[in-house]
Amino acid sequence: MAKLYSKQPKKNINLNPKDETISFILNYSKALSVINYKEMKFEALQN
């Protein structure tokens, strides 16, 4: 029987980011505030 040289399709990858990454993002979101002044927008990070 002829050999199949085609690559096996890669298995579906189901991965999740680390909990620390998620919590960093959520904390970043809480700390970031955008201040609008006239036409300008300022970002402020408050920890």
Binding site: N14, L15, I25, L26
Partner: protein
């Protein structure tokens, strides 16, 4: 279960209004697809974490600045941001995952590519042209010796035979040729480096 019923668009707009928990729901809902997508391109857990994080930092900034205008298409939008960040990552690291060695030993970590990159090749050309122009400035007898020695790779014995002078004279001409070239380089502040 109730959370699943809330649409992305609703969550996005309540997040913009200040409800931080909406973002948490959005992230939890889509994290697997986004992270897996990133990982499928970079094949590195740490890099994938970084890109995932940067993507959401962009998302947060855009939403908080009120510049988001794709209501109802939250996931494709985040995917697009991730995709752009992946491209940036490959541009920065100047490599593409062309080979998969199964992770243990990579022959490419031992082999190196010594050929010059485009910029260095250009500089090398430039330096060689400059040196050639300097040689043209030399007196004829010195120029002749330099060309035979450096460009034709002849020995001083061969040079002396060809030019009809003694080996010592040929050596002396070579010496003066180099001294004169250095003088011209110093005088005109010519930089010959690669």
């Amino acid at each position: 279960m109730r959370k699943e019923l809330i649409s992305d668009a609703t969550l996005v707009s309540s997040y913009i209004k200040g409800d931080e928990s909406s973002l948490e729901i959005l992230i939890k809902r889509h994290k697997q697809r986004i992270y897996s997508f990133i990982y499928s391109k970079v094949y590195d857990r740490d890099v994938a974490e970084d890109i995932f994080q940067d993507a959401f930092i962009k998302v947060i900034k855009t939403l908080k600045k009120g510049t988001y205008n794709e209501e109802g298409k939250f996931l494709p939008w985040v995917m697009r941001i991730s995709h752009n960040l992946i491209i940036d990552y490959f541009r920065k690291s100047n490599r593409m995952p062309k080979f998969d060695n199964g992770g243990e030993f990579s022959i490419f970590s031992v082999l190196s590519d010594n050929s010059l990159n485009a910029e260095k090749a250009l500089i090398k050309d430039q330096v060689e042209t400059d040196v050639r122009r300097l040689i043209d400035e030399l007196p004829e007898d010195q120029k002749e010796v330099i060309l035979m020695r450096m460009y034709n790779d002849m020995s001083f014995k061969e040079i002396s035979e060809r030019t009809g002078v003694s080996i010592n004279t040929a050596l002396g001409r070579m010496r003066y040729a180099l001294i004169n070239m250095r003088k011209i380089i110093d005088k005109h502040n010519i930089i010959l480096t690669n």
